[in-house]
């Protein structure tokens, strides 16, 4: 589903990604771990076509970036640490707007379905500006799956959420991931990542330095794996 | 028609012209010198490592 080979990204003279290789299949939930500044966000921005690769090949859902970026965007959902919602519009209007931008057929039904899925059916006529951070983030996930994408990217979805909201988000994330999509999530919260992901990749200094499947672990040595990967 | 005496304006004009070009050249020179100094400092730092 996602196929990245020898990806290099430079910002001016700074090289953020240095020959990164990565792949994710349909049905996989990959947690991308790594310290701040390792290039996780940059990597996701390239996958989502917001940023152009300097070198290397990137294919998402069978299309290559940046040449077929519009086709990639049609098959991709993205949740960033900002909700990408308009505070002066209601939950329903926000979804309506994005449904138009993605060309969703049968808009009203789909929007109602999504609102129900993220548990905001009752608040659909409320302004998003009045929502709590957790509600906004749930709606943001709803927004990202409006067009039933084949792959979903989450960039630190737990940023700024309290315990309750995080747990609620867990539920939504699981239901989104359970539909045969490829999911990539960046996080520095190992506990959260562990409970959700099927595979763990460690990204540091611009490359993936280690990768392990959930099944490889006996309980709770993810931390060791992570530390070892960083130290290597 | 008599020719007006405008020598002062002429001199002012040429002073402005050459002063501007001179200042620009000076700024090019100064910037270059500073950069070369920086370069030497950084290279020396690199060698120490």
């Amino acid at each position: 589903m996602i196929e990245v080979k020898k990806l290099v990204k430079r910002f001016g003279l700074k090289t953020v990604l240095k020959g990164l290789d990565f792949s994710a299949q349909a049905g996989e939930f990959v947690a991308l771990l790594g310290p701040n500044g390792a290039g996780k966000t940059t990597f996701l921005r390239i996958l989502s076509s917001l940023s152009r690769p300097t070198l290397g090949s990137v294919r998402v859902a069978g299309y290559s970036l940046p040449d077929e970026s519009a086709k990639v965007r049609a098959r991709l959902g993205v949740v960033s640490h900002q909700p990408l919602l308009y505070p002066d519009l209601t939950a329903e209007e926000n979804l309506q707007f994005y449904a138009r931008m993605y060309g969703v057929v049968n808009r009203a039904a789909r929007v109602a379905e999504i609102l129900d899925m993220v548990g905001l059916e009752k608040r659909r006529r409320d302004l998003v500006g009045a929502f709590s951070r957790g509600m906004q983030q749930r709606l943001a996930i709803g927004r990202a799956v409006l067009h039933d994408p084949e792959a979903i990217l989450f960039d630190e979805p737990y940023t700024g959420l309290d315990q309750d909201a995080s747990e609620m988000l867990d539920g939504v994330l699981r239901s989104v991931a359970a539909q045969g999509r490829a999911v990539v999530m960046t996080s520095h919260d190992l506990v959260r990542a562990e409970s959700l992901a099927t595979r763990f990749d460690v990204l540091t200094r611009g490359a993936i330095v280690a990768s392990a499947l959930r099944d490889d672990f006996q309980n709770s040595n993810l931390m060791d794996f992570y530390k070892k990967a960083l130290a290597a | 028609m008599d020719t007006i005496n405008t020598d002062g304006y002429m001199i002012a004009g040429y002073v402005v012209t050459f002063a501007s070009m001179g200042l620009y050249l000076l700024s090019l020179y100064l910037r270059k010198r500073n950069l070369q100094r920086d370069l030497e400092t950084y290279q020396a730092l690199n060698d120490e490592k």
């Binding site: - | 028609m1 020719t3 005496n5 304006y9 004009g13 040429y14 620009y24 950069l35 950084y42 690199n46």
Partner: protein, 232 residues
């Protein structure tokens, strides 16, 4: 540090000789203008600097377009050099125009189309510098600079045509004498020669300065690169 090419040294010498010759032709060779007297002698440098200022503006717009297509930062350096050098020359043009205007039209400034267009262009240059100063990433700075240089280059001719609608008292020095123009003069052959010598000399100086400025920009990039290497 790259060593200085011989061609550049030759160009340096030629520039000095050229400007010296232009000064001689303007101050000694050309006949004194019958009505205006000696102040008319600033006219040769006025035309010379205006010419290279204009060429530089077009050059910057073209280099900007080439940069946007190729993404090669050397075009950005050429564009920036062209803008900086022309900004300096246009400043001289405007100052000389103003000095000429004082005895000729009895005012330091007139809203004449050519003078005003030069002033607006100078403002575009200043805006260009401010725009670049506000952007950290060199690649983005180059991109935005190129876009703005292009917009400025496109608007300048329209600005000139629009301001001409308002009024003019600028003498038309070549071609038909406009009835509205005051302070015009018939070009004697000695004056024409001095004018073309000045145009030639400033063109050589312009190329020379741009070359120096481009080299300076390269040096800046080198230092930037080493600084970055050190910080890692």
């Amino acid at each position: 540090m790259q060593s200085k090419p011989i061609a550049l040294t030759v160009l340096d010498v030629l520039s000095v000789i050229g400007i010296g010759a232009a000064t001689y032709f303007a101050l000694v060779f050309a006949p004194t203008e019958a009505v205006m007297g000696n102040v008319q002698r600033v006219f040769y440098f006025h035309v010379g600097t205006a010419w290279v200022g204009m060429v530089g503006f077009v050059l910057a717009a073209v280099a900007g377009v080439v940069f946007l297509i190729t993404k090669d930062l050397k075009w950005d350096r050429l564009e920036f050099a062209a803008v900086e050098v022309s900004a300096m020359f246009f400043f001289i043009t405007i100052a000389l125009g103003s000095i000429w205007a004082r005895p000729a039209w009895n005012t330091w400034w007139t809203w004449d189309p050519r003078l005003t267009t030069a002033a607006v262009t100078e403002l575009v240059y200043i805006a260009y510098f401010m725009l670049r100063a506000g952007i950290e990433d060199p690649e983005k700075r180059a991109r935005f600079g190129a876009v703005y240089a292009l917009l400025g280059g496109l608007s300048a001719p329209v600005t000139f045509m629009v301001i001409r609608l308002f009024r003019t008292i600028h003498p038309v020095v070549i071609g038909n004498q406009s009835a509205a123009a005051q302070g015009g003069f018939d070009m004697e052959s000695g004056m024409l020669i001095a004018m073309f010598v000045a145009i030639g000399a400033f063109t050589i100086l312009f190329v020379d300065l741009i070359w120096h400025r481009v080299r300076l920009a390269k040096l800046e990039a080198t230092v930037e690169e080493i600084k970055l290497k050190n910080s890692i």
